[in-house]
Subunit: 901 residues, 2 copies
């Protein structure tokens, strides 16, 4: 089975899969000669073996661990369990992919009644020794023995109160010793066994506990949210303890080499004196800025800053570094690529590239497309600053509005039911993950920029305000208050994670702009990508906005919203109620000028670029009130003896609405089926498009490029009939206007049969646009309206489905149909243009698929255009990387260097 | 362009495509030395050229026709237009495929003022000459000049009345001449031109008219109904006239060499003395049995019988022969394979094979699967004979019930709206086709076994009673009556086309049995076919019946009807209303014994054969009353102050029904999705199946072979979860019962994604069964519930779709998915069993596809099992034929010799 345990000296940063991110980076830092407490790593493979073997540590592994421990003892010159000068170790989890706070850690391992006394004597600091001891007992009991944390905290609080100490730091050695004894009694009473006194037994139990924590609830949820596979396993790092809690010249902290919110090239760090690492991460004490170290321990500060810079340059990326200072001596406990906001990711990538540390291609690879959409949303327009009730740390940017909820369970329940909630907590813990996932944003009264809530929220691109100390929270009462106001559960608030503001009620949002760095990065993307990017836009305003975001045309202009306006709707209803073609034509005649003006606006805004206009798609009953409402109204009109003409019209409406009602509207009388049965509707729309074109040309606007798209085609004959209709109208408009213009007709591929018979359709289409929303509905047989509420949620939660197929394109099923259609279509018509205008057109992984499938462009909502530009560039770089990897003989390294931890 | 005109001597029976069926068979009979009036044929290619060239006869064609005419004149020793002894000709249509009465015919061509007189003088029979002349003017005016027939008929009636003649036969020469003159005046008045006097002009105009009739409405409808392509075109046969209307020793008739209703080997013929062919076919005079000729003209009768036998042996099939006797001399005007009822087709095929005239394979090829389903339906159980109000000729067997309708338009309108109607007419004409298509059956008061209504109805397998002379019909009043009763439009009647009975109201139907010949034919089929045939059956009764019809197992046993019984439904509703799994389990516990008993019954009835049981498929809301009804009931209960517990339960029902309501139920929470979310439901069903199995085994019943089928699977994970569930339950039942039984689990392929990922599904399935109903809905995006009424009808009528894809499997789209699934499935699991249980499983063309796609079996409704056995055998013979054709170098002949005319 090979080697299970690696000493730091045997590893390096490339071995993350085996040693976990933490272990590999500790080895790398040790290799670089940086001060790292000695230790060794038990591999992720051992974790997988542990689960495979029915949760049992095998004998060979135990032996290797004990051998590594013996070497560590030699290195440290101290032995574990030694009564006079005992070796203490930390036991930490660390997977290949960073899952901050999700799995377990045990510090101060090796203490028992005798070694605690030895530690007190050898350090001459009894207070320190028993502080460590009581921490260890509580932590081990909770993590390894599975006892609840509450009773331990209660004992601590009770003793603190009894001794009159204001904080943990004021507890004296005897009190701490007394607490440790009380803890031991608690363990015996609750757990039914003595607290394990043998340090080796402690160690092996701790290793098992860390392995087990791979499958604890919060880790499982975290992996689901971040799409991390279950079969990676976690490594375990065993390391000699260094102590941040050894008095005034000791402490612990974390540090970002660049600002994780803005990306600006300034170190952001936090530091707690006389504390162990858990105190910082848990957010239980609010730490000081790291700069204060410059005053307190200037040499250490200087060394820290130099090392930080060195690590950043070495890793070629912004780092998130954990350090501990023991009596004036600096140790590094972790370094990893810093998690960051989308804005920071862009800024850091651009800066690193401009500093020459990474290439432009690598810069593109450093920014996750999923995250940058947030950059284009949710700025606040706050006109009334009196509504700002408090201000906290701007931990994760973006604004969010929702109803206040104080418990994660409640947040989950309401969120799943579709309610928008803000989770408000004194602090968050890994156990709150399920609630955080469902919340729109997070607000905490404690913690700093690096507390749990801040890290998790940034990772998920969710707005967060933390350390909002003006807020007092009474969880039991379900209430929070500032000096001025009180907030109850269910009240509406808004948080702004960019400014730290907390605002009562809802607030208007401002339209975003691309900033310089973002614009720069996208310009680099445009140089790289092969895939075109268009926008789905139905109005001149949307068209203009999508141009600003870099759209190269409109891939989907829906025509139906024009019929939903106050002027359009009555005419549309008249058209639907018409008895016979003549009456219908009259109503259409009056709709024509409205459509023409709409099209003129959009075509003008997109001059120079193609505009794909989809003819009427939804079923006609969508333009009528629903049957139940109409029935009730009619009854009311009749019972109050209303105007007979009005009653007559109402009756007509009701009759027609009943006639148009469908059992399965999604599969009903809509799309090109309307066009085939009522050709005059499509003829009117085609006329409006071409008349708009002719008028613009006459007005001297150049580059007017409409493309007419027929929806829901499943049969070549449907398309043949409607293509001919559109071309006939175009000829008529050319003849009457005297203007010549090119006529482009294409079809949506959104019905499986359309994809399967794409070769025939291509005879009548100059382009295909994949409507992956409907195509997904039909390929799965899932009604989007029904599935989400009824069973899709269950499917996702229980991994029957890995992803929501309406969000991420299903390559195995829907993607097969796309590939079939691409192949058949191109074979039948080599110059066929291929695009996609479903919501997947703005989803990065799906864009990767569309790139590989050979499409010409994607089209998405205006705000997702930058996402798509970035994702398209990354798809191209991935392909080149794949090719150059193949050339180099399939070396598995990534050329685009995306951060994986 | 080659040769356009063929004389009879230049053709033979193999040239149907070019000469039309009529022309080719006339040539063949001439070749055989039988008495055929000389003539020539203008090819179908000329017809196609005519339409291609903008409906123009080209000069070369005109020249060839005139040359052929000249040769005919030489042969006959008479010249067309000759004043003394003019040559007259008939001009008849004739396509490669028989379309009886659909296109036009002109007789007596060549007459004008002078030649009529010449004919009178040369024959010495002025009455005959002017009878021909007035017939010719009327026919030519209607067919060629496009004038309405009514005014001609009115003149005839008026003159008849004025001269006191009881029938056409009593009209004297002067009166007929006067009628002809009146006709000429009518043509001049109505048509604005003189009736053409030049016989050559008459001929060329007639040829054009016959060509044009290829696209008349009734021909177009007929082709749509019979799926005959438009691009065949019709040939035109020009033939010297022989006259059945030359007095007592003249006449005309038709003859079937075997009985077209029963198939019994006896000649069935009809004969009208002193008449032309149109009189027989139109049903305007009721003819005599042909046997009467034996008394009147014994020599001619003998010659006719001998020739009939000779033609049947020569053509190796029962013939439908037209003949004319002119003054004691017999002429044959047509022979073709006789149209026949399904029963007759079976009987004739078996008899011909047993007589050694054709092979067994040919016999199988002679029976159309589409038609034989009628053999298994619709016998009457008439307990009260007083309801028989009249009796006519049993023209086309089968019983039909429907509302009386007197007009074809009305029949079409009502039929399309889904109403069952019986079209009641004095006689039918080709113009009534659209109404006949939509009617359940046809009843006429006039006509014989070979009248239009009889021929058309037999061809379509529709029940018909004709010549029901006891019935008087007043079309204007919309009423019919016998001596005793009066029937108004809309009244319900039943006709029995096997007995000729007409019955007031609805009548119970008797279960059919296979008769000897049919059983024999199917036994031959079973020896030939590769494809297995199972039945879709949900009850022990259906299972037993399908065994009688030869089913080799059940391919689809739906389990939901068991929940719809008066005992089952309340429990099912309880299960649905249950709050939480425990309550649900309790309700399921009580459903279990009911399901178990059901399964025992079915499995016992099918002992020795596999029974594929599909677990619950429909959405749960189908088991609850609809929301509108529940709301109304609840309001009523509340307003009358009902029992609070009852109101509570009603409220629960309503709330649940609202919660379960779906926008698109077809795409909703049903099938395996229910099983994944509520596994306890499927677990109960699996338990019922396996406990039934174990109990039957204990009772000593052998050959119990349940197969568990999971519906609506689109994801391998769904199937993996449910397969494991079913197997777990099976193990539990084996353990508790002590009985071992094989466990077979498979899936339906009815979601496109299931087909596209069939390789993955095959990992968890021992069989696939294609659910082509849903697969068609999803592949097209057609809701069956909505499409038919909303747009499918339009699509079929306008040939946007060639066939209803819910009736005939769509090979290009749905068939692609079937092929993909077959390939992927078999590749992943070589022994995978493949079947189909959609309605297409009983449709002959679709069965041909399933055979070619390599499926193992089809499953269909019990009554279609014989259809499927026959279609499967024909598919196999077609394949062998195709192969042997390939071996022989792609000769295009059919080895199975299906009659094409």
């Amino acid at each position: 089975m090979g080697k299970w345990v690696y000493e730091f000296a045997e590893g390096d940063a490339s071995m993350k899969a085996l040693l976990g991110g933490k272990g590999a980076n500790l080895a790398e830092m040790a290799r670089l000669g940086m001060p790292v407490p000695p230790g060794f790593v038990i591999t992720t493979q051992c974790c997988l073996d542990y689960f495979r073997d029915g949760r049992r540590l095998g004998e060979p592994l135990r032996r290797e661990v004990l051998e590594a421990l013996a070497r560590l003892e030699t290195t440290m010159g101290r032995k574990i369990g030694d009564h006079r000068e005992p070796l203490l170790v930390s036991v930490r989890s660390g997977a290949a992919v960073s899952m901050p706070g999700m799995m377990d850690t045990i510090l101060n391992l090796g203490l028992n009644q005798l070694t605690a006394q030895g530690l007190a004597e050898s350090t001459g600091d009894a207070r320190f020794a028993y502080d460590c001891y009581r921490r260890f007992i509580a932590m081990f009991s909770e993590v390894v023995l599975g006892l609840p944390a509450g009773p331990f905290a209660a004992i601590l609080e009770q003793r603190k109160a009894a001794s009159g100490a204001a904080s943990d730091g004021e507890l004296t050695a005897p009190v701490l010793r007394d607490i440790a004894d009380a803890y031991l009694g608690l363990v015996k009473g609750r757990g039914g066994r003595d607290f394990p006194q043998d340090p080796v037994e402690q160690l092996l139990m701790a290793v098992e506990a860390v392995f087990r924590s791979w499958y604890n609830d919060r880790a499982v949820i975290y992996r689901r949210v971040h799409r991390i596979p279950d079969d990676l396993g976690t490594a375990v790092t065993v390391q000699a303890m260094v102590f941040g809690n050894r008095g005034r010249h000791s402490g612990t902290g974390v540090l970002f080499t660049r600002h994780p919110s803005t990306g600006s090239p300034e170190v952001l760090g936090e530091y707690l004196g006389n504390a162990q690492g858990e105190d910082v991460v848990a957010g239980t004490r609010t730490p000081h800025p790291v700069a204060r170290l410059g005053d307190e321990l200037p040499q250490v500060y200087l060394q820290l800053m130099e090392s930080a810079r060195r690590l950043e340059t070495h890793y070629r990326d912004a780092q998130d570094i954990e350090f501990t200072i023991e009596r004036g001596q600096l140790f590094f406990l972790q370094t990893r690529s810093a998690s960051r906001t989308a804005r920071a990711a862009v800024k850091i990538a651009i800066d690193l590239a401009e500093e020459g540390i990474i290439t432009r291609a690598e810069a593109i690879g450093r920014v996750e497309p999923e995250h940058i959409e947030g950059l284009l949303h949710r700025g606040l327009i706050l006109e009334d600053s009196s509504r700002v009730i408090a201000r906290g740390l701007p931990a994760s940017p973006g604004a969010a509005t929702g109803r206040v909820v104080f418990q994660a369970d409640e947040a989950e329940r309401r969120g799943e039911a579709g309610e928008r909630v803000i989770l408000v907590r004194p602090e968050t813990a890994p156990d709150d993950m399920h609630g955080i996932v469902q919340a729109q944003g997070i607000l905490t009264s404690r913690g700093g920029m690096t507390c749990h809530a801040a890290i998790v929220a940034r990772g998920m691109g969710k707005p967060a305000v933390v350390g909002c100390e003006a807020l007092t929270i009474d969880l039991a009462a379900g209430r929070a208050w500032t000096e001025d106001v009180s907030i109850s559960q269910g009240e509406l608030i808004t948080i702004d994670g960019a400014s730290g503001q907390v605002i009562l009620g809802e607030v208007a949002l401002v339209e975003p702009r691309l900033d310089r760095e973002f614009g720069e990065l996208l310009a680099w993307c445009d140089q790289v990508r092969r895939l075109g990017v268009r926008a789905n836009a139905d109005t001149p305003q949307d068209a203009a906005r999508s141009r600003e975001f870099g759209a190269e045309g409109i891939g989907l202009c829906r025509t139906e919203h024009m019929f939903m306006t106050p002027e359009g709707l009555p005419l549309m209803q008249e058209m639907i109620l018409a008895e016979g073609e003549d009456e219908r034509r009259q109503a259409l005649e009056r709709l024509l000028p409205m459509q023409r003006e709409d099209f003129k606006g959009i075509l003008r805004a997109m001059a120079g670029y193609p505009v794909t206009i989809r003819l009427l798609d939804p079923p006609l009953h969508e333009f009528l009130p629903d049957v139940a409402g109409l029935t009730a109204e009619l009854e009311a009109m009749v019972s109050r003896g209303g105007d007979p003409a009005g009653i007559g019209r109402q009756r007509d409406l009701l009759r027609k609405a009943r006639g148009l009602a469908e059992v399965n509207p999604m599969l009903g009388f809509r799309g090109c089926r309307l066009g085939v049965v009522y050709p005059e509707i499509y003829a009117m729309q085609a006329r409006a498009i071409f008349e708009a074109t002719a008028e613009l040309v006459k007005e001297g606007v150049s580059g007017i490029r409409p493309e007419v798209m027929i929806p829901l085609v499943g049969l070549a004959r449907e398309l043949a009939i409607l293509e001919e209709l559109v071309r006939r109208v175009a000829r008529e408009v050319m003849a009457s206007s005297g203007v010549e213009f090119p006529v482009v007709v294409g079809t949506m591929i959104e019905v499986p049969r359309g994809a399967l018979t794409a070769g025939e359709l291509a005879q009548h289409a100059e382009f295909f646009s994949f409507g992956t929303n409907d195509l997904t509905q039909l390929t799965y047989g899932f009604s989007r309206d029904d599935a989400e509420a009824k069973f899709l949620h269950h499917y996702l939660r229980h991994k029957v489905l890995p992803d929501n197929p309406f969000a991420v394109l299903d390559e195995a099923g829907v993607g097969q149909l796309v590939k079939i259609a691409v192949e058949l279509g191109r074979k039948a018509r080599p110059g066929l243009k291929l695009g996609i205008c479903g919501e997947h057109g703005g989803e990065p992984r799906s864009i990767g698929f569309f790139h590989r499938a050979g499409l010409d462009y994607v089209s998405c909502s205006p705000y997702r255009v930058p996402v798509a530009r970035l994702a398209a560039a990354r798809a191209q770089l991935d392909e080149q990387g794949g090719k150059s990897r193949e050339r180099r003989g399939r070396r598995p390294a990534r050329t685009t260097g995306r951060p994986v931890n």
